[in-house]
């Protein structure tokens, strides 16, 4: 403990630093909204400080959620500080309010408490603070500035001796006597408010040590038998400096008793408990020469504004949006819920990958709504809908993002309404809707609609570029053709879900890398190897030997999803999303191999993601509550994903698409399906004639 000559000259004090808890800001926000409104008159609050902190902890004035309580609720062994909250309604009012006047007002109050003797009866009045605040409740930004008023009178506090430790000043016997007296004193003076007194008198006599109230000072000071020491419960842990509460006590002493006490002993009482035992030996005794203030009539100068972390006299700001903004809270809760799954069951689960996967949902009907909800559940943040229809009265019961009101006045546009609904469910989602008609092959375009279609195609192409996964959730087969082609051409993960009455299909399209020729595998090997790599898997159209045409003309019941069993869309949508998550968790993603038989003995390690198999197709039969997991190879003559189709699309762009839309046989001719049909016909004829012969 190096005590320089300089530092013994005048006593200097360690200022308070403010310590808030989140609960205070919660309560302030609540009060601002429910009680204060625009009324910005000063409010009484409470703070508290402690004289038992470990060495190295700054003097803290705590203000927590109990600050607004009518009756101060002070933790045991803490001491009360009287606060004024000055909450401003605008940042400008916060900036421009007169800080000098604020401090002056509280200084006058303090001065009055001292001169009137009120602070002798209730010494807690010596510890005050003012808190200037502005709460930006839209951003959850809180601006604040504390002042801990201390009167600058006397101007200096000359020390006549070096500060000494309590244990140097008093014997162990005296110390024990003091502690017993102090404990009894606190118990007897706690009063109705249950608040401990942070200021008291220690009278040292021949017979021992007594503890008394400040109001006994006059009597004790005139007692020639004893010596009076003033004691302050001191939040400072510094070896040479007491904390702020000592200052105003010195002013009080100087005003009332300095005439009788040219020199006063101040006990800076520090009361620490560590490992279950009490220690006060580090308390300090300062001997200060006090200039009498009894003739002073003017309120002296006052200081006390708190400096910020950089040592500047400016306000502070704290951004509590992470813990108070309900939108951010809902985001972090959703994330945490998913992380629980990782922490508890699947340490390798890559949730971030799922979260950043951008999903394009083509179709915002029953499948689109349910797929979107499942994606939300997995934490997906970017979901875009494309649909061209409006919400009708039959929709809300099955299409889980819509409600009755959405059907009124002709019905809202489905894509936008679905996106809006998602944002209402979870504001953290980036959901957009596009009302758009997806052009279909075999549905000839009139001259006048070509330009619109050109625009629509451009939008769709851009949307496919901007997303990682394309869900095909439309209600016609041929509307899936263009996005299948776009997904294949751009190397996207495409998930296709389709409903019959009581059957459904979920299929992931083979993922071709852009620029690479389609890999249909070695010819003829299909039967030999049941394991098909993800890049060799077929698309929705690969198993077809007819190009998509106009299916709305002669639709059979099983192609109309609106007459599927109502639970099917939920099952199917859920399976489509879970399949996506399995794909994303597989090291090869879209390249994950699938097995054509899905028999246990055929399953190899490379097929498994951490969530299990990544099947190519899930075909469900609700009548038997049974699912099959077939896999099939890409078809070299496929009208949607074969190399020749993709090449033509890449080379000719919209011109090629236009031919496909307008000419019914264009795609079949191009891919060689027409020729295949011819060959099939020939072989059938041959087969029949063969049969004929055998008869």
């Amino acid at each position: 403990m190096a005590t320089s000559a300089c530092s013994t000259a005048n006593l200097q004090f360690a200022p308070f630093s403010s310590a808030l808890d989140a609960g205070f800001w919660h309560k302030l926000s609540e009060n601002k909204l429910d009680v204060y409104g625009l009324d910005d008159k000063p409010r009484k609050i409470h703070g508290f400080y402690f004289n038992g902190d470990a060495v190295g902890i700054p003097c803290r004035l705590n203000v927590d959620y109990t600050a607004f309580n009518e009756i101060p609720q002070i933790p045991p062994n803490y001491f009360l500080s009287h606060g004024i909250l000055q909450n401003k309604n605008t940042i400008d009012a916060f900036k421009s309010c007169d800080k000098k006047e604020l401090l002056n007002d509280i200084a006058h109050e303090l001065w009055l408490d001292i001169t009137s003797g009120k602070a002798i009866d209730d010494p807690t009045l010596l510890s005050k603070f003012l808190m200037l605040t502005y709460a930006d409740l839209k951003k959850y930004h809180y601006y604040y500035w504390f002042t801990f008023p201390a009167l600058c009178a006397p101007e200096t506090f000359p020390l006549t001796k070096k500060p000494i430790r309590f244990s140097e000043r008093f014997t162990e016997e005296q110390t024990n006597a003091f502690l017993a007296a102090y404990t009894q004193f606190q118990e007897s003076t706690r009063g109705q408010r249950g608040v401990k007194t942070g200021y008291f008198i220690l009278q040292e006599t021949q017979t021992g040590l007594q503890v008394a109230n400040l109001k006994d000072a006059d009597r004790l000071l005139s007692d020639p038998q004893g010596k009076v020491l003033f004691c302050v419960c001191d939040p400072s842990t510094l070896a040479e400096h007491p904390g702020w509460p000592v200052r105003n006590l010195l002013t009080l002493i100087a005003y009332h008793w300095a005439d009788k006490l040219p020199e006063v002993e101040i006990v800076s009482f520090r009361d620490r408990i560590s490992q279950g035992s009490r220690d006060i030996s580090h308390s300090l005794v300062f001997t200060v020469q006090l200039q009498s203030l009894s003739n002073l009539t003017e309120c002296p100068k006052c200081v006390g504004w708190e400096k910020n972390a950089k040592g500047k006299l400016v306000p502070r700001m704290v951004d509590l949006s992470a813990t108070m903004d309900p939108v951010k809270l809902s985001e972090s809760s959703v994330d945490l819920n998913l992380k629980l799954m990782r922490w508890r069951l699947l340490p390798e689960l890559d949730l971030e990958k799922i979260t950043r996967t951008r999903c394009l949902l083509l179709g915002a009907g029953t499948l689109g709504c349910n797929v979107a909800r499942s994606l939300l559940g997995w934490g997906v943040r970017k979901i875009t809908f494309v649909d061209n229809s409006r919400i009708s009265y039959s929709n809300p019961v099955r299409q889980s993002l819509f409600v009755f009101e959405d059907c009124l006045h002709g019905g809202k546009a489905k894509a936008e309404a679905a996106a809006e609904s998602l944002r209402r469910i979870f504001p953290g989602v980036d959901a957009q809707g596009h009302s758009l008609t997806i052009p279909m092959p075999g549905h000839p375009l009139s001259e006048s609609s070509i330009e619109q279609t050109r625009k629509d195609v451009a939008v769709l192409e851009e949307l496919v570029d901007q997303h990682d996964v394309i869900f095909l959730l439309m209600d016609t087969r041929e509307s899936r053709w263009l996005p299948t082609l776009l997904g294949a051409a751009k190397g996207k993960i495409v998930l296709n879900a389709a409903l019959g009455f009581d059957t459904f299909l979920v299929v992931r399209h083979g993922v071709k890398m852009p620029g690479e020729p389609m890999d249909t595998g070695p010819p003829g090997e299909a039967k030999l190897s049941s394991n098909v790599h993800g890049s060799q898997l077929g698309c929705y159209f690969c198993n077809d030997v007819v190009a998509p045409g106009d299916s709305t003309r002669d639709r059979t019941l099983d192609q109309q999803c609106t007459v599927s069993r109502p639970g099917m869309s939920m099952i199917t949508a859920a399976l489509a999303v879970e399949l996506l998550v399995s794909i994303l968790q597989h090291p090869e993603e879209g390249g994950a191999p699938a097995d054509t038989s899905a028999r246990d003995e055929h399953i190899t390690k490379d097929m498994m993601s951490i969530l299990g198999l990544v099947p190519h197709q899930i075909r469900g039969f609700l009548s038997r509550y049974y699912n099959l997991l077939p896999a099939s190879r890409a078809f070299e003559k496929c009208t949607a994903c074969s190399s020749i189709v993709i090449e033509h699309y890449r080379k000719e762009g919209f011109g090629f698409l236009l031919s496909a839309f307008n000419q019914p046989s264009y795609l079949e001719d191009l891919t060689g399906l027409t020729q295949l049909h011819q060959e099939t016909l020939d072989s059938e004829v041959w087969a029949i004639s063969d049969d004929d012969e055998s008869m």
């Binding site: 700054p58 803290r60 490992q275 009490r278 006390g304 700001m317 809760s333």
Partner: protein, 236 residues
């Protein structure tokens, strides 16, 4: 009890006993009664000094205290010679620990928050960075203690939580292993009716010792100070 869980009423008894024990040891656990909850909870505040060692761990923990120099239009003159110039201070983190009963798991749960002096809560990542190194490696293997953020069941504000799902199995082993020691006191506590009188009969424990055992095993993970005296007294 034999499966490591305790009933709400046993928990309430434990709380009272624990708070008494705390007072004996001059610790500062306080009992708080909740309005609509049967058993209330106990709480304790504690300061955590970010010394050199911890400051390294939490170097990324800089408060977002925006430049607010422009926030005051009026120069405030407040310098005077009686105030010491406070050096860039030791960073202090305030910690608040609550022990609350979980009805669904029938075990005590530790809720806690740590915050800067501005009231800003530490993030989950910052909390993890404060978990002592020896537990970091253990936690990555053993999953019985992990941290999540949850709404405090009584206060309704976000708190961190040591998840209770493995507390019962932890306490089962703990209670049984203690039960094999002969010096265990034999006062008959509630909650053990129906336990067959085998050589392992955990015929029991002083009130409060369940909380002492549980809390002392989880406290170090979240830097909650717990005097060794708790264990000594519990065994006497």
């Amino acid at each position: 009890m034999v499966d490591g869980t305790i009933s709400a009423s046993v928990f309430a008894d434990e709380l009272h006993a624990f708070v008494e024990l705390s007072a004996t040891l001059k610790d500062t656990w306080q009992l708080a009664m909740a309005n609509d909850s049967k058993c209330g909870y106990i709480s304790k505040r504690q300061l955590l000094k970010l010394d050199q060692h911890l400051a390294d761990v939490s170097s990324g923990m800089v408060e977002s205290s925006l430049e607010v120099d422009e926030l005051t239009e009026q120069e405030v003159e407040d310098e005077e010679s009686n105030t010491i110039q406070v050096k860039p201070q030791t960073r202090v983190i305030s910690c608040e620990y609550h022990v609350v009963y979980s009805d669904s798991y029938s075990v005590p749960v530790l809720y806690f928050n740590m915050y800067h002096d501005s009231g800003k809560l530490l993030t989950l990542d910052e909390i993890w960075s404060l978990v002592p190194q020896i537990y970091q490696s253990r936690l990555s293997q053993e999953r019985w203690t992990f941290l999540t953020q949850q709404e405090h069941p009584i206060l309704g504000r976000p708190y961190f939580q040591l998840h209770p799902c493995h507390t019962a199995s932890l306490m089962k082993h703990s209670v049984l292993s203690r039960a094999t020691k002969p010096e265990i006191s034999t006062d008959t506590a509630q909650g053990l009716a129906g336990v067959s009188a085998t050589s392992h009969t955990p015929s029991m424990r002083r009130k409060g010792s369940y909380l002492v055992q549980w809390l002392s095993s989880v406290a170090p993970v979240v830097r909650l100070g717990m005097s060794l005296e708790y264990g000594l007294i519990g065994n006497n």
